[in-house]
């Protein structure tokens, strides 16, 4: 696995990798590639991907009434920066 590819995967997830992390990941991908090859031994032709354990419907439509409302105060209580009921971010227009 090329380092530039690993960096690209990390960039898509919005973080950077150090040189040590990249080197360690290169090693990990050797093992991972061998493990992924184990999947190729399983015949999955005509098999549908399994997304959840049970194909049971547990969702439903309810009346559009407010329920479990989080107050603005509580929603902002953990915000690193807040002002006038909003999350604060760096200026876009400078």
């Amino acid at each position: 696995m090329e380092k530039s590819k690993l960096e690209e995967y990390a960039n898509h997830l919005m973080f950077r990798l150090s040189d040590e992390e990249l080197a360690s990941l290169e090693d990990d991908f050797v093992t991972l590639s061998a493990q992924i090859a184990l999947l190729d031994k399983i015949d999955t032709s005509d098999v549908e991907a399994m997304v959840y354990p049970f194909d049971v419907k547990t969702t439903y439509l309810r009346d559009d009434e407010p329920d479990h409302v989080l107050s603005q105060e509580k929603a902002l209580a953990n915000a690193p920066k807040q002002r006038q009921g909003h999350f604060v971010l760096p200026r876009v227009v400078k």
């Binding site: 690993l6 995967y9 990390a10 898509h12 997830l13 919005m14 973080f15 950077r16 990798l17 150090s18 040590e20 992390e21 360690s24 990941l25 990990d28 093992t31 991972l32 061998a34 493990q35 992924i36 184990l38 999947l39 190729d40 031994k41 399983i42 015949d43 999955t44 098999v47 549908e48 991907a49 399994m50 997304v51 959840y52 354990p53 049970f54 049971v56 547990t58 969702t59 309810r62 479990h68 989080l70 509580k74 929603a75 209580a77 953990n78 915000a79 690193p80 920066k81 999350f87 971010l89 760096p90 876009v92």
Partner: protein, 465 residues
């Protein structure tokens, strides 16, 4: 102290538990936050005055919830998870938020941002993870009940290493509302106790439909603790031979096979099951790919903007990148990269979709064999708890690692109820056995577990430190 003993002690149980928690934590490092002001809200409840520890990924109103990650080090949830609400309504008293692998993504508890959690049977050894702190607090007698979560075997493996009972019920049996997710199609809420009777009672309190969790089940909740009577002749155990065949520690193998022989002598029926070995070797990579892919999506909200630890930056993107770069450990970032890799358009069909298809093949094969028995049974691990120092030096391509150390993910793939309980000791360290039943047959699972527990006599094990 088990649940019934705690209930008899009333408030004394809580006082004793808090004292033990403070005394032992210097050695065990099992606690993230000590809770000193919680009180019994229902003196007539099923868990009245029962001290309880809660894994630090359950949202607890006004109490820090960090998931042992630096990025959530200052996070205080604005509400209680449904499981927390239920234990409070039943009268339980929270003593501590317990240590865990960072964001529940590990099996050793070595990745917690507060440092390793120590096994009470040998402080130089790991607790197992990711629910290690909860396992340790029950094993060391601090609390008779502790909540955990299980995505691969994160309750059932530490239960084996710490000599306690670890229960992961069916998918959707306990609401996950308010639990910080890892991999949503595999995540389960479960718990630790010191015996099977207590495990059955805890499920009565915790189980049930919750409209706030769309995956929670409408299946009826039974009085499991009153449905434990059994006769050995009515029980059929399916031994997973693939696991037994790859065990390199002959003492573990003999301990297990001797107990199987004793079950048969008592009148239980034993069937030997041999799954396709290639399928068994594919369990771990299937799990690893699906879990990490789902985790990358679930944790995209940890951005340093709305909650959690934030780092300065010149733009919104920079704030997010700096917060996530510093907020996650190297271990977590590497896992996320694996998830990102498998979801990339170029790799998606070959890696992620392939794993999802293998998952279905595994489940169909397992359900076919499970229909012929009451439970599948195998050692929960082929070894005792490893040393903290050596934990990361495993060859992850051996059959023993791929099969014996990872077979319990089967129950997460198929949403099956699964329980680990003690089966013996090696050099003074606990060994565990795992039983897995049909979906929503918790009654059958508990009966077989009770039969096994009665056979070994290994219940209410406590190792105080």
């Amino acid at each position: 102290m088990n649940i019934s003993e705690a209930k008899k002690l009333k408030e004394e149980a809580v006082i004793k538990s808090r004292m033990m928690a403070k005394k032992s934590n210097e050695k065990l490092n099992a606690i993230v936050t000590l809770i000193e002001d919680d009180k019994c809200e229902n003196p007539n409840g099923k868990l009245a005055n029962v001290p309880i520890a809660v894994k630090d990924n359950f949202s607890t109103s006004n109490i820090r919830t960090t998931a042992c990650s630096n990025i959530l080090n200052n996070y205080i949830a604005p509400y209680d998870a449904t499981a927390i609400k239920k234990i409070k309504e039943a009268g339980a008293v929270m003593i501590a938020k317990s240590s865990m692998d960072e964001l529940a993504m590990g099996g050793s508890n070595l990745t917690a941002n507060i440092g390793p959690c120590h096994n009470p049977y040998d402080l130089k050894r790991i607790s197992g993870g990711s629910s290690g702190g909860s396992a340790v607090l029950v094993a060391s007698g601090v609390t008779p009940l502790a909540l955990g979560t299980d995505t691969g075997d994160s309750i059932r493996k530490p239960a084996a290493f710490c000599g306690v009972v670890g229960t992961k019920p069916s998918y959707g049996r306990i609401s996950r509302y308010g639990v910080i997710p890892y991999a949503s199609s595999l995540d389960h809420v479960g718990y630790f106790t010191t015996n099977v009777q207590d495990a059955a009672l805890a499920l009565e309190v915790l189980a049930g439909r919750d409209d706030l969790d769309m995956t929670s089940s409408y299946e009826e909740v039974l009085e499991y603790s009153k449905l434990l009577d059994y006769e050995y002749k009515d029980l059929t155990f399916g031994v997973i031979d693939n696991v037994v065949d790859v065990l390199s520690d002959l003492e573990v193998k003999e301990t297990f096979l001797k107990l199987i022989a004793e079950l048969e002598e008592k009148g239980a029926k034993i069937k030997h099951i041999h799954f396709d070995n290639d399928l068994m070797k594919a369990l771990f990579p299937t799990y690893f790919i699906i879990a990490n892919a789902e985790a990358t999506a679930n944790h995209s909200n940890l951005d340093g903007v709305r909650f959690g630890v934030s780092k300065e930056g010149e733009s919104m993107e920079e704030v997010m990148i700096n917060s996530r770069t510093e907020g996650f450990s190297s271990f977590i970032k590497k896992r996320f990269v694996v998830g990102s890799y498998s979801l990339f358009e170029k790799n998606q069909e070959r890696v992620f979709k392939k794993a999802q298809k293998v998952r279905r093949v595994v489940c169909e094969s397992v359900l076919k064999e499970l229909s012929k028995v009451d439970v599948l049974i195998a050692p929960a691990s082929g070894k005792v708890a490893p040393y903290i120092q050596n934990e990361e030096k495993q060859d992850e391509l051996t059959d023993e690692y791929l099969i014996a150390e990872n077979h319990m993910v089967i129950a997460n793939f198929a949403g099956l109820p699964s329980i680990t309980l003690p089966m013996g000791f090696k050099d003074g360290l606990p060994l565990g056995v795992n039983l897995t039943a049909k979906a929503f047959d918790e009654v059958g699972m508990f009966k077989c577990a009770k039969a096994f527990e009665d056979l070994t006599g290994l219940k209410d094990l406590v190792k105080e430190v």
